[in-house]
């Protein structure tokens, strides 16, 4: 075990874990941040997505000791008690079915919009393609991203 300091959603935490422990388990089990979830542990589905340095990052394959920059999780994207426009769009479009994948959908979409505030339909499809939903809410997610893009602008 070794002591690792992490900055998450504006707060600094120190944890004592094996350095190679995937960040996902530290966030969920040590820091109680359960927005990111285990889906595959292989970097293939996106359920565990957090944002580090503006990049949608799959925390299930990210060693905790490798993280140097601030981590943003789903719990950290609302500002001043106001939902992020994507979260609001998700509610307005009533996107989720079971909702289990939606952490990954929202966080991947956020990184996408942060980098490209006005994505085309093709860019949305491409940018989101690796983030899976087994309730197949893709059509509604894409509508919500377009809705949020108007607000973010």
């Amino acid at each position: 075990m070794s002591t690792i300091t992490l900055k998450v959603n504006g707060a600094t935490h120190t944890v004592d874990v094996e350095p190679l422990t995937p960040l996902l388990y530290v966030l969920r089990n040590d820091l109680g941040l359960q927005g990111p979830r285990f889906g595959c542990g292989l970097g293939q589905c996106g359920a565990c997505t957090v944002i580090i340095n503006g990049v949608a990052t799959r925390s299930c394959i990210t060693p905790t000791s490798a993280v140097k920059d601030e981590i943003t999780t789903l719990e950290g994207i609302a500002k001043d008690g106001k939902l992020h426009p994507l979260q609001q769009a998700w509610i307005d479009e009533q996107v989720p079915q079971c909702g289990f994948c939606q952490n990954g959908q929202i966080m991947t979409a956020k990184a996408l919009l942060d980098r490209n505030p006005h994505p085309t339909d093709a860019q949305i499809r491409q940018g989101m393609a690796g983030t899976l939903c087994r309730c197949m809410t893709y059509y509604r997610i894409q509508a919500a991203i377009k809705r949020a893009a108007q607000v973010v602008a």
Partner: protein, 792 residues
């Protein structure tokens, strides 16, 4: 054994707060009901159970109004129902129905679902029956509560009930509206103490009658699903999130080959790993338990064990599956359902068309692998699970562990999609078994490869069809013969068939026979034969190719075959596929239970109209080898499930260079009778159609003769954002001949959606290319090969 916890406070809060207002725990405390002491048989369910969190956990009595509805002093209400929500927003629908009958504003209510010690046993979810079946007792008990409250108001004001008005949980004297009393003032924090009647829970009723449809004000509106905000802001507590004091983590070690026998375990291979607690093993079941989650994952991978392969191959490879199925002797055959004389009609037909369709095994493959947490405190067993049948899990775990049923409870929490008999059932028994072995709360979760390889599968099908057309192109004979690899079809939470029981050696003397589905349509065909058989793979137990219900269990398979074949017949007759179907539907006016014929005609027409159907035979004329790589076409398909009728149209683009199929547009016309929440239904329809689109385009369980080889999202692909249609149009149809009847029923909406889609896509591909795809999934390579073979 250490005493650990009651339900952690945060979970109590979550169970309540994700659903709305005041905490039930607070309510119970302030009302003094927590310390009320009455005999177990006489107490009202939710109140009693909460006062006994340490167990045992008697069943809430469904014949007590207090088990269903609690009115709070602040004039809000909590509904306790024995259902679960797999993500379609049924909880919101229950609140709408019950609020309407109770005459209380929707946003003054909350709904608690599916936790066995505090909600009556309505069986959890399954069969799309939540609204169709369970909605009725919910409506009736809410109506009864309203009646009782009106009685109380009448006594308070000394005026007869017919001189009282009630609205938004306030009773007023009609003649003098200043005389008013709220439900909360009448009964807040107290019990109704009203007995209900009914031989079974579905028949539960009081004295009051439900309202006619015309008086329902909240039903038919689209309040937003109450569960969604917490699912997008990160505050939702899911079953995967449960954390208990002293909790440890477990991971399974599955047999590396199907049917393998465990010879030995070398515990020294993991004993010194950090956090190691124990290897638990019995028969061929093996799990490793560690203090931390990542430690359990590492140790389960590190554990050295030797396994012996079975003497004979457990199954053919997936390439040889259909050949194997065609060649094997059925384990059972249905008595063919025969109308007229199909053999004679086929012999006398001007043209006979034959085709065979193939559907591979397809899995649930939940986005989050199976999981459960079990707490063995106080000599009881509490399981935190997302299993859609929490009540069945309670019974199954009790039987599996040999514990009295009232020592076991299941706290239902949200989870990844629960469309049928998922591995959540298996994880529940595993967690409980491990918790008892370890004497501490245990959280177990399957890894991705376990989930994808070992989850229950929808059975593979082969379907042989023959059809006879007369000289005028009329369909005179139809012969459907389906064969499903469905032997030993798993039930829900059966203590002797859950995977851990099988691995420990449990064998049913007589495995479930299984079944193969038949077409569901209202076509009038004078001569027909419908026959089904079930076949078995060599390995029946401890196999990853376990079969169980996946959404509409076998409808997508059978409807793919039958509705594709109807299109083949239309094409052979050179008739427009819509016109061909409408002719078959309108050829009779009798035989119309539930007005299914009238409603079928209505939905097929509604879909065609919404799409803007151009009447012409398929395939569309196109120039083979001509310019342009993208060929477009449209396909129609229709079916029903129970009383819900659905027609869908797919518009496709087929790339003849790559074989890629993109479904650009989907249209669905859907009639499930009375719609409770139209917007939530639309979302369910979108998701359900795309689920079947995933099965049409991508999904197939692959295996060699030893093991499943499709084990992650690369080898077991699913629909992605790239596949999403550009447009989805949904028409909610009320095709009842008397659409305004006051007793218009609400039918189960969900699973019917999944049935027709695959055929609609296949029919559209045929329309675009003239190539008939008879085996799913329509992956690029397979489509390209078919196009090339046809010279397209």
């Amino acid at each position: 054994m250490t005493t650990f916890t009651k339900i952690p406070a945060y979970i109590e809060d979550v169970l309540e707060k994700q659903h709305g207002t005041t905490s039930r725990r607070d309510f119970l405390k302030t009302s003094g009901l927590l310390v009320v002491s009455v005999s177990a048989s006489a107490i009202a369910g939710p109140l009693a159970a909460a006062s006994q969190a340490a167990g045992p956990y008697p069943d809430p009595d469904f014949r007590q109004l207090d088990s269903w509805i609690v009115i709070h002093e602040d004039n809000t209400a909590t509904f306790f129902v024995g259902k679960t929500d797999c993500g379609q927003g049924t909880g919101t629908a229950f609140r709408q129905m019950m609020s309407d009958e109770l005459d209380i504003a929707y946003d003054k209510t909350t709904c608690i679902m599916g936790s066995t010690d505090i909600t009556v046993d309505q069986g959890g979810s399954g069969g799309s029956d939540a609204i169709q079946t369970d909605g009725w007792p919910m409506r009736r008990v809410a109506a009864e509560a309203r009646r009782v409250l009106l009685d109380m108001g009448s006594a308070r004001f000394g005026v007869p009930i017919d001189q009282l008005a009630v609205s938004a949980a306030v009773i007023t004297v009609k003649a003098d509206p200043s005389r008013r009393v709220t439900y909360g003032q009448l009964i807040g924090g107290k019990r109704f103490n009203v007995a209900l009647t009914g031989n079974n829970i579905d028949a539960t009723t009081g004295v009051a009658k439900v309202k006619p449809v015309q008086e329902l004000k909240i039903v038919g509106q689209s309040p937003r699903r109450y569960d969604i905000p917490a699912k997008v802001d990160g505050s939702q507590k899911w079953a995967v999130d449960v954390k208990l004091p002293g909790m440890v983590h477990a991971r399974n070690v599955k047999p590396p080959f199907a049917g393998a026998k465990l010879i030995s375990i070398d515990e020294s291979s993991v004993r010194r790993m950090p956090g190691f607690i124990k290897v638990v093993s019995k028969g061929n079941y093996v799990a490793v338990v560690c203090e931390r989650e990542e430690q359990a994952i590492n140790a389960s991978r590190q554990l050295k064990a030797s396994w012996e392969k079975p003497a004979t191959a457990p199954f053919p490879s997936s390439e040889d599956l259909f050949t194997y199925m065609r060649g094997s002797t059925p384990t059972s055959s249905s008595n063919p359902n025969v109308v007229g004389n199909p053999d004679a009609a086929l012999a006398g037909a001007a043209r006979v068309i034959e085709a065979e369709y193939e559907v591979p095994f397809q899995g649930h493959t939940a986005i989050g692998p199976a999981h459960a947490t079990a707490d063995p405190s106080n000599g009881q067993m509490t399981i935190y699970s997302n299993d859609m049948k929490s009540y069945g899990m309670r019974t199954g775990v009790a039987a599996f562990l040999g514990m009295p049923r009232d020592h076991v409870r299941v706290v239902w929490m949200e989870g990844p999609q629960g469309y049928g008999r998922t591995a959540a059932d298996d994880a529940g028994c595993e967690a409980a078994y491990l918790a008892r072995e370890i004497g501490r709360p245990v959280r177990v979760q399957w890894m991705r490869d376990e989930e994808t390889a070992w989850d229950t599968k929808a059975p593979a099908f082969t379907v042989k069809l023959r059809g006879g057309l007369d000289a005028e192109g009329n369909l005179v004979a139809f012969d459907y013969n389906a064969r499903a690899a469905d032997y030993n079809h798993l039930g829900y939470n059966e203590s002797d068939t859950v995977l851990i029981a099988q691995l420990m050696g449990s064998r049913r003397a007589r495995p479930a026979a299984g079944s193969a589905a038949t077409p569901s349509e209202m076509y009038v065909i004078p001569n027909r034969r419908i026959a089904t058989q079930v076949v078995s793979l060599p390995l029946v137990w401890e196999t990853p190719l376990r079969v169980g219900n996946l959404r509409d269990p076998n409808g997508p398979q059978s409807t793919f075959a039958s509705e594709s074949f109807i299109d083949e017949l239309a094409a052979a007759a050179k008739v427009d596929p819509l016109a061909f179907r409408l002719k078959l539907l309108t050829a009779s006016t009798t035989d119309d239970t539930g007005f299914k014929r009238a409603r079928s005609i209505a939905v097929v027409k509604a879909a065609a109209e919404a799409y803007g159907w151009d009447v012409r035979p398929s395939p569309k004329t196109f120039s083979a080898g001509g310019a342009g790589n993208i060929l477009t076409g449209r396909g129609l398909s229709y079916t029903f499930r129970s009383q819900t009728v659905v027609a869908q149209i797919a518009e496709v683009e087929v790339n003849r260079q790559t074989g890629h199929v993109w479904v650009k547009r989907l249209v669905c016309a859907h009639d499930c009778g009375l719609v409770i929440n139209p917007e939530a239904l639309r979302r369910t329809i979108e998701g359900g159609m795309l689920h079947s689109l995933s099965r049409a385009l991508h999904e197939e369980v692959q295996f060699d003769t030893e093991k499943v080889t499709s084990v992650n999202w690369r080898s077991s692909p699913t629909l992605t954002h790239a596949d999403a249609p550009a447009t989805v149009d949904i028409v909610l149809v009320n095709g009842d001949p008397n659409p305004n009847r006051p007793d218009l029923p609400h039918y189960g909406a969900g699973e019917a959606i999944c049935k027709p889609l695959i055929a609609a896509v296949a029919n559209a591909v045929y329309d675009a290319t003239g190539v008939r795809l008879r085996r799913i999934p329509f992956r690029d390579g397979r489509v390209l090969a078919a196009l090339k073979a046809a010279g397209v």
